[in-house]
């Protein structure tokens, strides 16, 4: 059995996965996405040496491209390209959640800034404006009034790439200074953390503090259904607590970071991830 881990950079998470592979004496290679050259019409046979490829690319666009190519060549990848594509794009994620009847914040989409302002006023301020792609809370803006809306939209339209001209507008959820990050592997919510911050953005990448969040049957059921809504796999699901509506699914991450979640939850997340991949590889080998 041999595994490839696709990376852009070796973070703490990749080192933990490497340690877990070494503990199990499983052969693996680290493949740097920057080094890759694909001849699309001639599958590179070296990929066939791997029973599976685990995508840990820091670059979402590179990772997704490689997943698409390898799947096209019949290589087993985690997570699948279709799952990753849905999770990498907030619009596609929202549509998948709505299709599955998963509760999620009310979201609008507009292309023109004046139309976007009309949408914000329909939702009523404050609202949250996000790019449809991106991570770590980058370029996410809470907009409290029309003045701020006009300023942020003008900046996006003047300075941003075309992707910044797609205005994904969400109602603001008055969460209790925290959100929930739940980790789903296969059919199970293996653990969850609260991410607490005085800032309204509660990403740990932005300084939020992680603490254990009990996985209640309600949270487990919601997160498993959410994972199934995008095709399942190894996923981190961001959940907001709304005083009236309860738990709302906000975003889903297909290349999850977990360094801050192992200690508070006591769950060896990289080991559970590997167990899932290895078990799926064994099942595949039996077929």
């Amino acid at each position: 059995m041999r595994l490839a881990i696709l990376t852009s950079r070796i973070r703490v998470e990749e080192k933990l996965l490497i340690d877990a592979l070494r503990q199990r004496a499983i052969a693996f290679d680290i493949v740097d996405d920057g080094e890759l050259l694909f001849d699309l019409s001639n599958p590179d046979e070296r990929w066939r040496e791997y029973d599976a490829v685990l995508c840990r690319s820091l670059s979402q666009s590179r990772g997704l491209a490689v997943l698409n190519i390898l799947e096209h060549w019949g290589i087993h990848v985690y997570n699948p390209a279709a799952v990753t594509a849905l999770c990498n794009d907030k619009l596609l994620t929202t549509l998948a959640l709505l299709r599955a009847g998963i509760p999620t914040p009310h979201t609008l989409l507009a292309f023109d800034s004046q139309v976007a302002i009309r949408g914000m006023e329909m939702l009523s301020y404050p609202v949250v404006l996000k790019p449809t792609t991106g991570s770590w809370g980058r370029l996410v803006a809470r907009i409290n009034d029309r003045d701020a809306a006009e300023a942020v939209l003008e900046h996006r339209e003047t300075l941003g790439s075309y992707q910044q001209h797609i205005h994904y507008i969400q109602e603001h959820i008055a969460k209790p200074q925290r959100d929930i990050r739940a980790f789903v592997v296969g059919e199970r919510t293996i653990c969850a953390i609260y991410r607490t911050s005085e800032h309204w953005v509660t990403n740990t990448a932005r300084g939020a503090v992680a603490s254990n969040c009990p996985v209640t049957p309600e949270l487990d059921s919601l997160c498993v259904r959410t994972a199934q809504a995008v095709g399942g796999g190894i996923l981190a699901i961001d959940v907001l607590e709304d005083a009236q509506r309860g738990l709302l699914v906000n975003e889903i991450n297909a290349t999850m970071e977990f360094r801050n979640s192992i200690a508070p939850t006591g769950v060896d997340i990289p080991s559970v991830m590997l167990d899932y991949v290895l078990s799926a590889m064994k099942e595949e080998a039996v077929r």
């Binding site: 990376t7 852009s8 950079r9 070796i10 973070r11 990749e14 080192k15 490497i18 680290i30 740097d32 820091l58 670059s59 979402q60 666009s61 590179r62 792609t133 991106g134 991570s135 770590w136 980058r138 790439s161 992707q163 981190a236 991450n253 297909a254 290349t255 999850m256 970071e257």
Partner: protein, 53 residues
């Protein structure tokens, strides 16, 4: 041992992996390990728009 491309301080890559980030002890520049043998580092790239989870 190699040198920081920013300030030429001595950098050791012992216990690091290719692709890992380290910091220059003198100027605190963020450095990416390019090779272990012979050791080589470069200034780490800035965060790209599509980086994330």
């Amino acid at each position: 041992m190699t040198h920081c491309p920013e300030c030429e301080a001595e950098i050791t890559v012992r216990d690091l992996l290719v692709g890992e980030i380290t910091y220059c002890p003198d100027c605190n520049a963020e450095l990416e390990v390019l090779r272990l043998e012979p050791p080589s580092v470069a200034l780490a790239p800035q965060i790209e728009e599509d980086w994330g989870e």
